[in-house]
């Protein structure tokens, strides 16, 4: 079965809704998109999609876990007012300044288009425009009031950004939830590359759930898989105006290979040396703070897992127009495939010797 190109795969998966805790639909799209590239797929109790591509040769096979989270930030209905507006709270970290004027989809009894309301500048109090609107003053309007709204919407319904994928110039692509569906794109590229390669390691590609609310899916999926090597693929701050150079990695210069407390130095070195050997462009990305990505959850699972972190440069994180460069995703996928085919017993055992 022929696989689609990266842009199409990515476009398909970012178009599906999957606010943290509600990832079942996006999991289905991811699994369908990856069909033909794996031996087994299952979802666990929390909804993590675990795709296994078996290694060849004599057992035991080293176990490699690649994790990218498929959940997205979004809103949740907390109250339905009689005037028709839906009161909301955030799921994951949302900068509420980006919300007024945004088009959204309310996932009620059916998909309902909605808009995030804002007070007209004409009737604002003096100085109001200088401040960001408070959560209690934000609301979503679906065009129905009170009981009519309650017919279709209930408390707990999720709301996603309505943004459809945008093909920018060159290899740049924008849309909602590139954080971290771009990482899922890396898993896809890696599996596509591995299809024609011989590898001894069993490869568990996990599209994790609930990363945005506290790396919850990676916590349980790592416990279940017990990998010898764990690699989280997430997004990093791409260079953009207003973000200092020392806090960002460059777009279209290859994935960031993170170094920091969550990263096992020997895996970091191996990733860099494989990239060097094959002339795959990468960037070293210091990640001084543990937590914040699935790498942290993987690292501290069970008795501890040797872990690494790869970051895809991304601009405008946690907005509806998160922007990535497809070449960075392709390079990360190829790098991981080449890293995996080089994994042997000696490397895995070496990770436990300091």
């Amino acid at each position: 079965m022929a696989t689609v190109g990266l842009a199409e795969f990515l476009g398909n998966i970012i178009s599906e809704a999957g606010v943290s805790g509600h990832e079942d639909k996006v999991a289905a799209v991811v699994q369908k998109g990856m069909s033909g590239l794996f031996d087994e797929a299952r979802t666990d109790a929390l909804g993590n999609l675990i795709v296994l591509k078996r290694g060849i040769g004599r057992a035991p096979h080293p176990r490699v876990m690649l994790a990218a989270h498929m959940d997205e930030i979004g809103l949740m209905v907390t109250k339905i007012e009689d005037q028709g507006c839906l009161r909301v709270t955030q799921i994951g970290g949302i900068d509420r300044r980006i919300l007024p004027g945004l088009e959204v989809i309310v996932h009620g009894r059916k998909k309902l288009p909605g808009v995030v309301g804002a007070k007209p500048p004409h009737v604002q109090e003096r100085g109001e425009r200088e401040k960001s609107v408070k959560w209690e003053d934000l609301y979503v309007d679906i065009g129905l009031a009170g009981d009519e709204a309650r017919e279709l919407v209930q408390i707990g319904d999720t709301i996603t950004f309505a943004q459809t994928p945008i093909k920018l110039q060159g290899q740049f692509m924008a849309g909602k939830t590139m954080d971290d569906r771009a990482g899922v794109g890396v898993l896809y590229e890696c599996l596509r590359a591995l299809k024609t390669m011989r590898h001894h390691a069993d490869v568990y590609c996990v599209a994790t759930v609930q990363e945005e609310v506290g790396v919850r899916g990676a916590t349980t999926s790592t416990y279940g898989i017990v990998p010898d090597v764990g690699i989280a693929i997430d997004v990093g701050f791409g260079d953009q105006a207003s973000v200092p150079e020392y806090q960002s990695i460059s777009m279209d210069k290859g994935p960031g290979i993170s170094i920091g407390p969550a990263v096992h130095p020997a895996i970091h070195e191996r990733l860099k040396s494989v990239a060097g050997e094959l002339e795959i462009s990468v960037q070293v990305d210091p990640s001084p703070h543990p937590g914040g990505t699935d790498a942290f959850a993987i690292q501290i699972a069970r008795a501890g897992i040797p872990t690494a972190l790869i970051s895809i440069p991304l601009r405008y994180m946690h907005t509806a127009v998160e922007t990535v460069c497809l070449t960075d995703i392709e390079r990360a996928g190829r790098l991981l495939a080449e890293f995996i085919v080089r994994i042997d017993k000696k490397f895995v055992e070496g990770l436990k010797c300091f």
Binding site: D44, A45, M76, K79, T89, I91, Q154, I155, S221
Partner: protein, 334 residues
């Protein structure tokens, strides 16, 4: 329910010092279950053996309190908090220690009451000096609020409804189920140290290794004057949790709970608690993950010595729990 609740809320048991409340609960559940045990952290685990999936139902039995950090030469005690405590609600309150010593909270002179912090406050046990104070308390002693419960109609005002209300719901649920055949094994756990970061539930769930988990705790309301936006009211039924700071209830579990409530005609409300966590958090992240849900008792003025709840919400929480545990959970959820 009222007698049980009074007995539970007035019992002593700040986080890490759950001995007295644990003994009361042990007495309540013995005879209702097949086995009662206490784990290394002090969680009380009441087990109904049988067949079917293992279901853990949890309510934390600890309460918030204070810990003595220093005793000065005049016999005044400095203290720190055990769990979430606002200094403003301590003014005028009394504390009781495990040995029965009672103290009043006092504050230093402040130019502006907004500057009130716990480290500007002290406990006065009426001691004349350091020596006589030390005869009654030592550094590290933990105290709880000293309040009796009041019942007015269907409403109760008491300390520690968080979460003795949940404990009462669990005890009553076990009473209702006693002697009845159900298609699930039940591990009812009265957890410790929830108020310090959901600690007891974490180890208890690891030990129990449940197939499905449910917690019962209290939740806030939005039905008081100028309250924060929250679509939960006292007396309109227990809540089925959608979200709090530590869990997003699995949609299938939430749906199942709502269907059970609808089928049995039990009133319920949907709950989104924007700040605060419950034992459901650690339970659902146990091992490879456990599908988990939560029922809450709507409660006003949480983490004060005068929390308020409605008895009917607790009675309905019991009905909902019983109906859930009578269902074939392996077919409904797993």
């Amino acid at each position: 329910m009222k007698d049980l609740l009074k007995n539970l809320v007035e019992a002593f048991g700040p986080a890490g010092n759950e001995g007295p409340i644990r003994e009361i609960l042990r007495t309540e559940v013995e005879g209702l279950v097949d086995e009662v045990k206490v784990d290394a952290l002090g969680n009380l685990i009441a087990i109904r053996k049988g067949s079917g999936p293992r279901v853990m139902i949890a309510a934390h039995m600890d309460e918030i309190g204070v810990i003595v950090t220093h005793i000065d030469e005049k016999g005044f005690l400095r203290f720190s908090n055990i769990g979430g405590i606002s200094p403003f609600m301590l003014i005028g309150q009394r504390v009781v220690f495990a040995n029965g010593t009672v103290g009043a909270f006092g504050a230093e002179k402040l130019d502006d009451i907004k500057d009130l912090k716990l480290n500007k406050m002290f406990i006065d046990i009426g001691a004349k000096d350091e020596k006589s104070a030390k005869e009654k308390v030592t550094i590290g002693d933990i105290g709880a609020f000293y309040r009796q419960a009041n019942f007015q109609g269907d409403r109760v005002i008491a300390k520690s409804l968080d979460n003795r209300a949940g404990c009462a719901v669990l005890v009553k649920t076990l009473k209702e189920l006693a002697g009845r055949e159900i298609p699930n094994q039940v591990y009812a756990v009265f957890t410790v140290q929830e108020e310090l970061g959901l600690r007891g539930a974490k180890t208890a769930a690891y030990g129990v290794n449940p197939d499905v988990g449910f917690a019962v705790d209290v939740t806030g309301t939005g039905d008081t004057p100028e309250a924060p936006t929250m679509a939960v009211k006292l007396g309109e039924g227990p809540t089925i949790k959608v979200k709090d700071s530590v869990v997003l209830t699995h949609p299938r579990v939430r749906q199942f709970m709502m269907e059970v409530a609808k089928n049995k005609g039990i009133p319920y409300q949907l709950e989104i608690l924007e700040r605060g966590g419950t034992d459901t958090g650690p339970i659902h992240l146990t091992r490879e993950g456990v599908p988990s849900g939560a029922i809450s008792v709507p409660t006003r003025y949480i983490h004060t010595p005068s929390e308020m709840a409605d008895i009917n919400d607790m009675e309905n929480a019991v009905k909902l729990f019983v109906a859930i545990l009578e269902a074939k959970l392996d077919e409904a959820i797993l």
